[in-house]
Amino acid sequence: MEGTNNEYEAFQSFKRVGLDPRYVHVNELRRKTVSLEEFSSIFLPGGFSAGDYIRAGVILANRIASSSLNELREFIDTGKPVIGVCNGFQVLCELGFLPGWSYENQREIVLGQNTSNRYECRNTYIRLTSDNMIFKDFFNREQPYLVPVAHAEGKIQIQNKSVNLEKLVDMGQVLFRYSDPEGNFGSYPWNPNGSDHDIAAISNENGNVIGLMPHPERMFYRYRNAEKKIFGETAIGEVFFKAIKQYISKIGY
């Protein structure tokens, strides 16, 4: 919808791993010219849907809810992956699919204004911190992966934190956490927004609804030879999207 961006690099990322992506405008859902059923994965890109003037993602979430909430719920129940990055993550939280305990209508997680109180465009590192079925064979849990972030509202704040943070960790829903280049969690600017527990990404209980603030789709390749020597041959985008492709073919869609 208007204000959404990042769709170009997400589209390219799916294509680069050999999938066949298609852009779907929220209007096409409203007009029922597209049905979600025909797809094997949904990616909600970042940006500033409707300008984010009210609260990040809230208007897009409402539009999706009014046109295709049930359809989306059925999609999720089949186990197909639904990924929201940045603004897309905010939308999935608004819709109640993340962390997804009470399913909808209740937001257990809020993405608030960065602690620095400003937009932050920088690179940082993340580590996989869950046995998520999609990513566990592709990411090395000990290894920090370089990834770009770019947002003003990405601070993960868990409601009723004393109970819910433990629950999130126990259920394996803390998918990625921010770290420094050595793999130590925490501290600004590595945790660029001040998120609780340095959380960068979470999933639902089943592990097929993923929300993350960093942008693996923006770093699919490491282009420069000089950079490859320093940061490694393979960039996070390639690992991330190959994992999704593998999972999709495994579940048979």
Binding site: M1, E2, G3, T4, N5, N6, Y8, E9, Q12, S13, K15, H25, N27, E28, G46, G47, F48, A50, G51, D52, R118, Y119, E120, C121, R122, N123, T124, Y125, L146, P148, A150, P181, P189, W190, H215, E217, R218, M219, F220, Y223, R224, N225, A226, K229, I230, G237
Partner: protein, 771 residues
């Protein structure tokens, strides 16, 4: 029963024919036309000839078209004199349409433009800067190109000075709001902000400069022109609605700011990136489907300028129905509709048979549009409002505008050599202060607020090096096409302190730096866009500056085989009698064969050789060193284009053989700042000996900003081959990279010793107190 009341006539007749000089002046003032008495009498003569008085719509339209901003009346003569002889080289469209178009590869071209948005930003910094970004995006879009990168050069006053008096906005407020405007607009449209410059000087205290640039990519067979020639085509106004915001913007932009100008905020347009973002998609989709015959964005002068220019360029005219324009508010008068500069609007010419298809596209993207007129043959432009004809003018007369050949005065050449006080300073302590000054420190506080990685194409970011400890890049590199490894290197900036000292050599310095910024990445510079920001052209001294700037640009481009493909001139940057320093802000773009070989500015390894490519320069004229120490000079260093040409060729050979690991040109802050900035990237230090450079004084060697010099890092195994490649070019080996310590020797004396963090810390925090 109701009756339609005609409360007041829609347009009024202006009593021009019988007006005397005094009355003419009064009319111009009352209607905010911004026309001189001479121009008013030219109009009077024209209408005398027609035998009728003009309508208010006609007078407003003339005032728009004849403003400095739209018709370049002060600069046109000289622009033509110096630029019309330049060759096009790789350019497909140079200075013809809304943006320059340059060949990228066999199938694709890149589209570039940079434009000033100074006057609005002085008054309403947030809105002014935001709409500057919006306007430049439309210039790229209307060529049918996908925007792939934004850049901006911004100039502010003394943000650190708490005792600035007067009614104007404080430079600190202006800084924060300009950055905020660029951030909030640029980030929302999802086009990465990849390059530019930030400068601080007293002369910008009340005259900040905001120059916004954009680059896009288009398939050669899909280039859309800013002209229409098909009679019978429909004119569509697409995107945002038309309102009262931004009325008289161009007249205001062509006038001097004084105390009191602050009240004119309504001339600044309001931007809405959330209309712009889908507008980009919709327009590109329609263009891809071949539905658009001609396209122009609505910027300064609104419909008045756009309709006039797009028709004149194609040798046709139009009938426009003003009541069909979709409005933001009711009760707008015809002339207001015609000259409103409301944002996010595009003018499209399409064949009637494509109307249905294009309607569908805009409907899908939730974009409003209306058919406002029709293309007709002939030369007279007609505007109707409902059934009333409110304008009927000859297009040629309307759009061409007067040309002035204003008086100019070239600066007298007085040789005033600077005198440096005895070298009593502790270099380390001095450098720590110098690097922490707003003019010399990092711009990270600003750069990190701009999204420079969206679209995932940014190969060299504005910041480069270790994550979260980066240094600055010279030019950024993007890879605009998925299927090709070719890249675009982009830079923008000005050596305005040198230009102020000597407009000729300062402009050579500006061009040389832009050239080197692009070259060091490994790209071949292929086009120039200029944004010339000057004071009041009615002062002969200012015209003299403009002429010298144009002359040296022209000479540089001829010699270096570069086309000037687009640009703009912003005059009247004056506040209550004080002019800005002349700022030729140059954007340069280069094409790189293979981005995997792109070279960044950060020292990468320990124990590698450090060379300077290019002859030494020891002149401190126009340098940051002298500025920082408040020492006057009026000589600037000279720049040698023959040497630059040689270096360019050899450097690209070294790039393609991958002999250079990192490279940074010598500019702001001289050799020492160049070396330190390279070391900040990965915290690799340097151990160097300056003795072999020249016999000049140490301070001159380390702080001179002259010459066409590049500092490079070369691995030991590549050293011999590197030397061989540069056999005909002067290179000087000065030392090696270290694991962190810094050590500089000159003639057996250690002049600087320390650790990187001692220099990096002040550099990193120079702007912390201001933004």
């Amino acid at each position: 029963m109701s009756e339609i009341n005609h409360v007041e006539p829609l347009s009024e007749t202006v009593q021009l024919l019988d007006a005397d000089r005094k009355k003419l002046e009064q009319i111009s003032l009352d209607m905010s036309l911004g026309l001189s008495t001479e121009e008013m009498s030219m109009l009077q003569n024209y209408f005398l000839n027609l035998g009728r008085n003009p309508t208010d719509v006609e007078m407003q339209a003339m005032a728009q078209a004849w403003s400095e901003h739209c018709c370049y009346k002060s600069s046109k003569f000289y622009l033509k004199k110096y630029f019309s002889g330049l060759e096009k080289h790789d350019a497909m469209l140079a200075m013809e349409d809304d943006a320059g178009v340059v060949s990228f590869d066999d199938d694709y071209a890149y589209v570039v433009k940079m434009e000033s948005h100074n006057h609005p930003s002085a008054l309403e910094p947030y809105g002014g800067a935001a709409t500057g970004v919006g306007g430049i995006l439309r210039d790229i879009l209307c060529m049918g190109a996908q925007p792939v990168g934004l850049l901006d050069s911004i100039y502010f006053g003394e943000v650190w000075n708490n005792s600035i008096k007067g009614k104007g906005l404080h430079p600190r407020f202006v800084l924060n709001n300009v950055v905020g405007g660029i951030r909030d607009y640029g980030n929302r449209v999802g086009i990465p902000n990849i390059a530019g410059s930030v400068e601080f000087d007293k002369c910008f205290n009340n005259s900040p400069l905001v120059n916004a640039g954009c680059i896009g990519i288009v398939r050669k067979d899909k280039i859309s022109r800013s002209l229409i020639s098909k009679v019978g085509d429909l004119l569509l106004l697409v995107g945002g609605r038309t309102g009262r915001d931004g009325i008289h913007g161009v007249n205001f932009a062509s006038a001097i700011l004084t105390e009191g100008s602050e009240e004119k905020k309504s001339v600044v347009q309001l931007g809405n990136p959330i209309i712009k973002e889908p507008l980009i998609h919709a327009v590109l989709e329609a263009n891809e489907d071949g539905l658009i015959d001609g396209m122009k964005d609505l910027g300064g002068g609104g419909l008045s300028s756009s309709v006039g220019e797009i028709c004149l360029a194609g040798g046709v005219s139009a009938i426009v129905q003003l009541d069909k324009v979709l409005l933001k508010e009711e009760g707008m008068k015809p002339w207001e509709i015609w000259v409103s500069e409301s944002q996010e609007r595009m003018l499209l010419a399409i064949s009637p048979e494509n109307l249905e298809k294009i309607s569908k596209i805009f409907h899908n993207w939730d974009i409003e549009f209306s058919i406002i007129g029709e293309v007709v043959s002939g030369t007279s432009l007609v505007l109707n409002y409902e059934k009333e004809k409110v304008l009927d003018l000859d297009l040629n007369f309307l759009t061409s505008g007067p040309v002035y050949c204003r008086n100019y005065e070239l600066p007298k050449k007085e040789m005033l050599e600077y005198v440096i006080p005895p070298e009593d300073l502790d270099l380390k302590v001095f450098l720590q202060k110098f690097l922490g000054a707003p003019s010399n420190c990092t711009r990270q506080n600003i750069l990190r607020q701009y999204d420079h990685t969206v679209r995932g194409d940014t190969v060299i970011r504005p910041l480069t090096g270790m994550t979260n400890g980066e240094t600055h890049s010279d030019a950024s590199v993007i890879k605009p096409l998925e299927h090709s490894m070719k890249g675009l290197a982009v830079t923008a900036g000005s050596r305005y302190d040198m230009v102020a000292v000597d407009p000729m050599s300062g402009t050579f310095g500006t061009m040389t730096e832009a050239y080197l910024n692009v070259l060091v990445t490994g790209a071949k510079p292929s086009s120039v866009v200029d944004c010339l920001n000057m004071g009041n052209p009615e002062e002969p001294k200012i015209m003299g500056q403009l002429i010298q700037v144009l002359e040296s640009m022209s000479e540089f481009c001829t010699k270096m085989e570069l086309p000037v493909v687009a640009g703009n001139v912003s005059l009247y940057n004056q506040y209550s009698g004080s002019n800005i320093k002349p700022v030729p802000n140059i954007m340069m773009v280069g094409v790189m064969d293979d981005v995997s070989k792109a070279i960044s500015a950060d020292f990468k390894e320990t124990g590698n050789h450090i060379f300077i490519i290019g002859r030494e320069s020891s002149s401190l004229g126009g340098s940051q060193y002298l500025k920082f120490r408040n020492i006057d000079s009026n000589t600037a260093p000279w720049f040698d284009m023959d040497e630059l040409k040689q270096i360019s060729e050899k450097y690209r050979e070294a790039y393609s053989r991958e002999l250079i690991l990192s490279a940074h040109d010598v500019s702001n802050g001289g050799l020492i700042q160049t070396l330190l900035e390279m070391s900040f990237g990965f915290n690799k230090g340097f151990h160097i000996d300056l003795s072999d450079i020249s016999d000049a004084r140490t301070l001159e060697k380390i702080f001179s900003e002259g010459g066409e010099r590049i500092v490079v890092e070369v691995k030991p195994e590549n050293r011999e081959e590197f030397i061989k490649v540069f056999d005909e070019v002067k290179i000087t080996e000065i030392g090696k990279t270290t694991s962190g310590e810094i050590n500089v020797i000159d003639r057996n004396i250690t002049i600087l010793e320390g650790e990187i963090k001692e220099f990096k810390e002040p550099w990193l925090h120079g702007l912390d107190n201001f933004i």
